[in-house]
Amino acid sequence: MSSAPASLIAAPSPPPPAPVRRSESSASWRLTDRIGLGFAWLLGLLFCAIAVAIVGYFLVEGLRYLRPSLLVTNPAAGVSESQTGGFLDPLLGTVIISAMAMAIALPAGIAIAVWLSEFGRPAALARVAESGIEMLAGTPSVVLALFGTLLFEAPALGFLSQTSHGIVLGQSFFAASAMLSLVALPMVVATVREGLQAIPSHVREASYAVGKTKIATTRRVLLPAARPSVITGAMLGVGRVIGDTAIVLLLLGGTLTFSSATSTPLLGTLRGTGDTLTGYIYYNAPTGDGNQPSKAYAAAFVLMLIVLTLNVGVDFAVRRSRAGGWS
């Protein structure tokens, strides 16, 4: 007891030494392991280099040719570069098509993912649905485009595109978006399903314990918790939709500007034909018929900017929603 005040007066014991973080040096490894690590470093840096090269090439060329007026002028038929206007219509076309494709694919994908992970009876239907979605994920977009030409030229679907002398033409924003939603669907289903399955079962059980129905649980508890996956799935889907060329070439009609079917403001445009940035780039590149390479480079730059912004925006959104998640 008397030592206690002494120990209090005495110098406090030095703090325990901080644990020395000794990261393992690769010098102690076997040769094959070191070669492996070197190979991994090499490939990682090569990867970066290729990315920088591709993005940098289009950045440089695009900055050389991009003028803000291009973004707000409609494309015009012309011969020389100064007469052909900008690419406002293809830009809007890209936005419209991705919005419409995701408007179909996102709700449908979430619904299918919810059914597969929460319900899933009868089991045979679940298995068929799973294999179907997987097969759809592997289907080339050319095949979907071919099928789309068959489908939308049927007289019953004439209201989705334009009709000329009783024959359905089959190219419109509706047609292209419908097929593009099929392209985006497997991504959404896979990611949302993974997100839902990652939620521990005690969350569901707690919700059932307070009397919530399955569907209410899904709507109010599970889906909000799986929001990062939903956003990731949506972003993956949009990425694929924006980059698709085959479906756009066959099902969108390739007109320079929006060519509305009727004079109704919204429906007319969607039933009509138009173009997207990818189609515009394909047409005007040095390799296409339009022969306006500077405009093509500018458009490619804008397209990459859109993709970059998408990536960054989604990163941000996912990080924000993960902040309140189940860590």
């Binding site: 038929a77 011969v79 000329s164 403001p265």
Partner: protein
């Protein structure tokens, strides 16, 4: 609870904004007629300018052109899917049920890389090159190169290929060592990038800024004057195709305008083609 409500209102405003975007696209004028056509994708740039010129003069007419290829365009007209088509090859017996009009002139230039000193080629030599008989530049007189010839051509569904086949190759198929590409632009790119290349492109793609050098055929240069007086061997007409029974009157008016009006003639020459009948 609060988060859900703001999410819903946020979604609503987002959807509303998206729905407004197509409205930015100017809706068609009330009462506008749309004329549907299809055909050659190589002629699409010049056709778009012609459409615009015609629509400016006749405000209620709009055009919708699907570039699915000249041959497919004729089929579309035969089946009634389209009201008119534009083709780059002369009428064939299989084009029954259609009436075809000559619209304007164009030429197929044979071009080499600027580093090749070749300036003149005979039709027979061109045939030998593209059928695989001549394989080295040393076999072709007038060229400073001694390397292998790299011929570049069009794919088998192209009107340019059919025309080249009948006019130069005498009906034979292109040799398998000709690199078939799917557009004139790709031919120009390939010839521009390869010093040993030779290819055939439309007049519009072989101009001064294209980076390739058109050669004379049988001593005649590939330019608008020689095409207009039809002395250049590979001149061709661009054809407008309409159905024989019940052609649309507006389409016929358009075709007449393209053929004979002064405005159309100016558009055609500025685009790099050659007006044929315009005043």
């Amino acid at each position: 609870m609060k988060k859900g409500m703001t999410l819903r209102s946020r979604t609503r405003t987002f959807v509303g904004l998206l729905a407004a975007i197509p409205a930015l696209a100017l809706p068609a004028a009330a009462g506008a007629t749309t004329l549907f056509g299809s055909g050659s994708s190589a002629e699409q740039p010049i056709l778009n300018v012609l459409f615009r010129g015609y629509s400016q003069a006749h405000h209620h007419i709009k055009f919708n052109f699907l570039p699915d290829g000249g041959n497919a365009g004729v089929k579309d007209v035969q089946a009634g899917r389209r009201e008119f088509a534009v083709n780059t090859r002369p009428p064939l017996p299989s084009d029954s049920g259609t009436t075809q009009f000559k619209l304007f002139l164009d030429g197929l230039c044979v071009a080499v890389n600027p580093s090749n000193s070749l300036s003149n080629l005979s039709i027979a030599q061109a045939k030998d090159i593209f059928t695989g008989v001549d394989t080295s530049w040393s076999q072709v007189g007038g060229s400073n190169l001694t390397s292998t010839i790299d011929p570049v051509g069009r794919n088998s569904s192209a009107g340019s290929y059919t025309f080249f086949q009948s006019a130069v190759l005498g009906g034979k198929t292109q040799s398998s060592n000709v690199h078939p590409v799917t557009s004139d632009g790709l031919v120009a790119t390939a010839v521009h990038g390869d010093p040993n290349a030779i290819g055939y492109v439309g007049l519009a793609h072989s101009g001064k800024g294209s980076g390739i050098k058109p050669v004379e055929l049988n001593g005649v240069a590939c330019d608008t004057a020689n095409i207009k007086n039809e002395t250049y061997p590979l001149f061709r007409f661009i054809w407008g195709v309409v159905p024989t029974s019940h052609p649309s009157l507006q389409v016929e008016n358009f075709i007449e305008w393209v053929r004979t009006s002064k405005a159309a003639g100016q558009i055609i020459s500025r685009a790099g083609a050659v007006p044929a009948f315009n005043k």
